[in-house]
Symmetry: C2
Subunit: 188 residues, 2 copies
Amino acid sequence: MGRWEPNARGRLAQAALELYGELGYEQTTVAEIAKRAGLTERTFFRHYADKREVLFDGSSALQELFVTAVAEAPESMAPIDAVTAGLEAICAAFDGRREHARRRQAVIVANAELRERELVKLASMSTALADALRRRGVAEPAATLTAEAGIAVFKVGFELWLTAPEEREMSQSMRESLAELKAVTARD
Amino acid sequence: MGRWEPNARGRLAQAALELYGELGYEQTTVAEIAKRAGLTERTFFRHYADKREVLFDGSSALQELFVTAVAEAPESMAPIDAVTAGLEAICAAFDGRREHARRRQAVIVANAELRERELVKLASMSTALADALRRRGVAEPAATLTAEAGIAVFKVGFELWLTAPEEREMSQSMRESLAELKAVTARD
DNA sequence: GGTCTGATGACAGTCACTGACATCGATGAT
DNA sequence: ATCATCGATGTCAGTGACTGTCATCAGACC
């Protein structure tokens, strides 16, 4: 047994999600989150850079999953198809966790600061994606545009998945979203 | 003459841009901005909701320009072409102000909080754009994806323009960006 | 001259976030 | 076993962004 309960970080994330859901983000103070987790405010800030970040703990892992899949896609694949392979990879990480995703997303959309931070995470994924594409030999501005397109597909596909009937697999929503993007940007 | 110097809002924006450039965003306090503008901190917050917003004063006008152009594009135009018409419209607002745009952009890219706020402004334009497209009869998720694609083209085109030789017109960079997006999303 | 209005100042307060230092259980060397 | 060290936490005193409230004062309108 340690001197402290294990998984302080996880307890903080759990407490924050609960309190943001119960009271709302703005009405929740960091001191309250820390107290529910059995810690102090100062310790909260040792684990999370700010009050928003606690909701985005998994985002760097997700980004890594995405980027790795893009990097490992067959060399012969077109850039947009490599990105699609990345999308398939992260779908696996979400399937079966839809309820958690819904609760979290409801908290985020309810507050401007949290939506703002979500945009940062998506932009970070876009940048990392563009890097990965460049390492595959894709030139600029094609790399950036392909990455931006991929993130747009993800945003729309994610939303489709959250509101779709229960059986729907995320990868199906992603394919739907991608097909639509290709349709609207098609040359005449 | 009034009791107060005119254009308090503009003086605050000017002072903020200068100070953020001279000292950096984080090292500048709102009290300093207000003092340089000959006002008090409290008055700053009556004009701008927060310390970041002061750099984005023109963004709602820009959004309106964009949306109006999309709404007024000929009915027969495909969604992506209506968005292109909107891009052309905002290009006119930027041409001739490249130096100002560069100074402002340098301040923004130097700070994470400001980049975060910039993403919010772009996301807001995307949402407004999707609304305008829906009013043109475009269905979901095509409207959202077309809007996201349009914003991606704008981001890349804007960057191209800022770093291009002086003679380059913004609309030329935008066309270049759009062509590239169409190329990378082309069906095989 | 009186009244009303809108922009501003003055001031106290909350809370996110930081720096500095103390505490204490565990771990490993002696 | 004892001791030095280390890492996670607590304590405390800040700073600065942002808000609520009330006072002030020039100009407009009567």
